[in-house]
């Protein structure tokens, strides 16, 4: 299946997020690699996803799982070579799968040669590639992001005897984007990968590129100016490529990152995700509809990226204190499940391994406006290991089978980069790809089905959304429309069966066709349309006038 020429391909994409290290080990060293990933592309094709997002795979001391890059032009030797990466690109493209890679613009590893040079002396030509200060009193209005580990955004460099600025870990010094040479160099880095054929970048931590005194050093106009410049260069030199913004901000603050369609193509909708979990636990649609009501319109060529879980903690930065307390109490009863302002757990454990809730959450994800992202392993209901530090508990090896090392690697188990999940509920003996492939009713099969149905209509990726507000607040119902096509989505957020009356009078005369079974439901008339839904059940109906 060749790639399409559609420049807006990202609007219809189903993105699969994967870390090379976690997916499949081809050479038996206990660490996943690019040849291993290539071997598993058929699986991803079977799953019906059409894009993969690779987490950082660059040379790195791996003190932040690769987000501390030491060389932007190469591949970490554990994962293979540049040639291996090229093979992945080709193999993916042959299967109609685009490849989005991570790009960390904001900072480097302190092991990066640029930083080593910069710290070597105050007169070094690269000194100004980072943000230095003789005092740690500058930019006091800036919040600390990793509050569990960092006490300040400044770190003391004993070599050059001055402070350097870092928004994340202290071993990740921020680049100085006021320096034109840095901006030019980072475009060259992006161009290097674009020339190779990558389809897009997920640009990490982009609100923090520029610092200014008297501000919170986030979302500054100067940052937007830099990003617009990158986009301009991208459009001038390439076609059909995509920029995805990682900016954990409120929707109103995110909106500028789309510009007038001249900045990012896509941005993550961070505040939506915790509210989906909140709405499910509260059995009340209010948190979800409210955040989507507050979500501003974006340019026609742009798209939200939505997700249930990812490689980080389930971030609770974009909720109120009351909501955060509620989320902690409901989803992270023990302190070890919490990290920074979030919850470091996978989807299935968060939902108590309740298949109905997992399906409902995925159903909402696939039917909300935006491009959905599936985090590797969530399609089979993988569990987590909260005894591993930081966010490593949700980054354990992919569970392919119930055999040796879950089919992930032939290495000795103790050589694996991380221990496998082995508990009775989520362990690889119980949860793995092979067994789910063989079961018609497995979660994996169900995921394949819902992705297929989602991809059967452009309305989900490109259509408008209009909420219906039935009096039953446990029911979340909305219409997705694109051109002449209308899809009605009805979700029961409740653990009990519910009846709901929907005002569909304007569609009088239409019949409803349930999209999973293609069964016909009664024609819409003058009366409210009565539906009953079982616990956590949802429907997607195509409306058709017959």
């Amino acid at each position: 299946m060749p790639l399409t020429n559609d420049a807006l391909w990202y609007k219809d994409a189903i993105i699969y997020q994967v870390h090379v290290r976690t997916f499949h080990d081809s050479n038996g060293d206990g660490i996943g690699d690019f040849p291993g990933l290539v071997q598993k592309l058929d699986y991803l094709q079977e799953l019906k996803i059409n894009a993969i997002w690779l987490m950082p795979f660059f040379p790195s001391p791996l003190r932040d799982d690769g987000y501390d890059i030491a060389d932007y032009h190469s591949v970490h030797p554990s994962y293979g070579t540049l040639e291996d990466f090229r093979e992945l690109l080709d193999a993916a493209h042959e299967r109609g799968i685009r490849v989005i890679i991570e790009m960390v613009l904001n900072h480097t590893s302190d092991q990066h040669p640029w930083f080593q040079e910069a710290r070597s002396s105050r007169n070094n030509p690269r000194r100004d590639w980072y943000v230095w200060s003789d005092t740690d009193e500058r930019y006091k209005g800036t919040r600390i992001i990793f509050i569990d580990t960092e006490a300040s955004n400044w770190a003391w460099d004993p070599i050059s005897k001055s402070f350097y600025w870092h928004r994340f870990f202290s071993h990740q010094p921020d680049l100085n984007y006021d320096n034109p040479a840095v901006r030019e160099q980072m475009w060259e880095v992006m161009k290097f990968w674009l020339d190779m054929g990558v389809d897009g970048f997920r640009l990490d931590a982009i609100p923090y590129l520029v610092e200014r005194e008297g501000t919170n050093c986030e979302n500054l106009p100067e940052t937007h100016s830099i990003l617009k410049d990158l986009r301009r260069k991208l459009d001038e030199q390439f076609t059909g490529r995509m920029l995805l913004a990682e900016a954990n901000q409120w929707p109103a603050d995110l909106r500028p990152y789309f510009g007038d369609g001249d900045e990012f193509h896509m941005a993550f909708h961070f505040p939506l995700m915790p509210r989906m979990f909140m709405g499910l636990k509260l059995e009340d649609r209010k948190p979800i509809t409210e955040i989507l009501q507050q979500t501003p319109e974006i340019p026609a060529s742009c798209q939200w990226c939505i997700f249930l879980r990812n490689h980080d903690e389930l971030t609770l930065e974009m909720v109120t204190d009351m909501e955060r307390d509620y989320m902690y109490d409901m989803y992270a009863e023990t302190k070890t499940m919490r990290l920074n302002l979030g919850i470091r757990r996978r989807l299935a454990p968060l939902l108590n391994n309740d298949r109905r809730r997992i399906e409902l959450m995925n159903g909402m994800l696939m039917s909300f406006p935006g491009t959905p992202i599936i985090y590797y392993g969530d399609e089979i209901g993988m569990g987590d290991n909260i005894n591993l530090g930081d966010r490593n508990g949700v980054r354990t090896p992919m569970q392919w089978s119930g055999g040796w090392n879950a089919g992930f690697s032939v290495a000795e188990p103790q050589r694996l980069y991380a221990p496998l999940i082995q508990d009775p509920v989520y362990g690889y003996a119980a949860v793995n790809v092979i067994s789910q492939r063989e079961s018609e009713h497995s979660l994996l099969r169900w995921m394949q089905r819902i992705i297929t149905v989602r991809r059967s209509s452009d309305v989900f990726g490109r259509g408008s959304i209009e909420f219906l507000y039935p009096a039953n607040h446990r029911i979340l119902a909305y219409l997705r429309r694109l051109g002449k096509e209308t899809v009605l989505v009805v979700n029961n957020l409740s653990s009990t069966a519910q009846a709901v009356e929907l005002d569909l009078r304007r569609y009088k005369g239409n019949i409803l066709i349930e999209m999973f079974g293609n069964n016909i439901f009664p024609r819409v008339g003058d009366l409210p349309y009565l539906l009953t839904l079982g616990p956590y059940q949802f429907y997607w109906f195509r409306l058709r006038r017959v």
Binding site: L282, K286, P287, Q293, A471, A499
Partner: protein
């Protein structure tokens, strides 16, 4: 559930939309537009502040208001249709209303609220008065929490009152219920109270909604049903009880609602109260009672005149109800001047016990018995006011306690009369 068809289809549809709840606030209304806005606003604040995570609903049972009361109640709903700026609410808060047309009595309203509570499987419910001039958000928690968190079945309020407010309570209902049922419940007849689902369901199933007394004295009967059913009862101090307007409520209807209900219950509850001796404290959060001192305008002269006139005019009625010695004593004090007049504790208790026994025997029409009590109650009130006009709050509290003990001491007298009939 017994015959829930009295709920309208529209109300049932609203209940379906609300679904199962944790907390239910019932609000019986009838032309309360002046006060209801502030009351429902306070209720909402109380829920948001103290129960932000719980599923809650406010249910208005309206007797056919023509002043827009139901709209004011439903208008405070929190949902995703009407943005509620500055309201930090986790979830939807439904506020729904139903109107009944077959009367404005509290019976239909309470029955509606109880039925809704059962259908919605509410874990903890409260009923709030639509007439309070002032309530505080914490009242909601104080009534709900003992049920929702601590497993009580009935929570009755205590208030900070003026020392001469609630004289029917202090001179009759509190001491008599205490002596007969053995529990020191300061406000057995209330318009604000909390109850559990199991108590509400039991009362809904057992109360004689279809006989003539279905709606009379429900609040007191609810309390007595909880006592006789051995449900867990507690009291919570709410704060100052302020009324919207000081109405000289007609005493006879009030007596029907209270004393009539009490006398009526004594019949069926005889196996329970006849075995009770003495009285026990009820678990109470906050003070049992706070009395405010200060002047209060009462026409004492008129009270005494009404007593004397009543004793004279109703002599034949009293002779049917009361013992000859009690009638004689009442006639004696009726002739006394204002300074000498004293309706003693003992005489008052004997009067009431003899009324209760007469009510049981139906010596005359039972409603006439209740009506006949009115002038005597005024005489007792006159004495209470005179004896306590310069008393401190503590002294009044001691006097009330003394009256209670007199009720307990003379309880065998009532039992003797009751058994002699049998």
């Amino acid at each position: 559930m017994e015959d829930e068809t009295f709920l309208t289809d529209d109300f049932l549809r609203q209940l379906i939309n609300v679904g199962e709840v944790d907390l239910l606030v019932g609000l019986p209304t009838y032309n309360n537009a002046k006060t209801i806005g502030s009351i429902v606003g306070t209720i909402r604040s109380g829920i948001l502040r103290d129960f932000p995570r719980e599923r809650a609903v406010i249910i208005n049972a309206d007797g056919g208001s023509r002043d827009g009361t139901p709209g004011l109640v439903t208008g405070i709903s929190i949902d995703d249709l009407r943005p509620t700026a500055n309201l930090n609410a986790l979830r939807t808060l439904h506020s729904i209303s139903t109107t009944y047309t077959n009367g404005t009595g509290s019976g239909v309203a309470l029955r509606t609220i109880l039925a809704a509570a059962e259908l919605l499987r509410a874990k903890a419910c409260i009923v709030m008065s639509p007439e309070s001039a002032k309530i505080e958000p914490e009242w909601i928690s104080r009534l709900l929490r003992p049920i929702f968190r601590d497993g009580f079945d009935l929570v009755l309020p205590t208030y900070r009152r003026h020392k001469f407010d609630g004289l029917l309570m202090t001179n009759l209902l509190y001491p008599m219920v205490r002596a007969l049922y053995g529990l020191r419940i300061r406000e057995p007849y209330v318009t604000e109270f909390g109850f559990s689902n199991r108590l509400g369901s039991q009362f809904l199933a057992q109360n004689g909604w279809h006989n003539g007394n279905g709606g009379v004295g429900l609040e007191l009967r609810f309390t007595l049903a909880a006592i006789s059913g051995r449900y867990r009862i507690s009291q919570s101090f709410l704060g100052e009880k302020e009324h919207t307007e000081r109405r000289a409520a007609d005493l006879v209807p009030t007596l029907r609602q209270t004393v009539g209900a009490l006398f009526s219950a004594l019949e069926s509850d005889f196996p329970i109260w006849s075995t009770v001796a003495g009285s026990k404290q009820v678990p109470t959060t906050g003070p049992e009672q706070e009395l405010l001192e200060g002047p209060m305008r009462v026409n004492r002269k008129r009270l005494r005149e009404m007593f004397s006139t009543g004793v004279a005019e109703l002599e034949s009625v009293f002779q049917a109800i009361l013992s000859p010695s009690t009638v004689g004593e009442l006639q004696r004090i009726a002739r006394l001047g204002e300074e000498e007049f004293r309706y003693s504790e003992e005489l008052w208790v004997k009067t009431l016990y003899e009324f209760a026994a007469a009510y049981q025997r139906s010596v005359i029409n039972r409603d006439h018995i209740i009506q006949a009590l009115a002038p005597l109650f005024r005489g007792r009130v006159f004495t209470f006011l005179m004896e306590n006009r310069n008393a401190s709050a503590n002294e009044i509290e001691n006097n009330i306690e003394s009256l209670c003990l007199e009720f307990e001491r003379l309880k065998p007298y009532l039992l003797q009369m009751w058994k002699s009939r049998e």
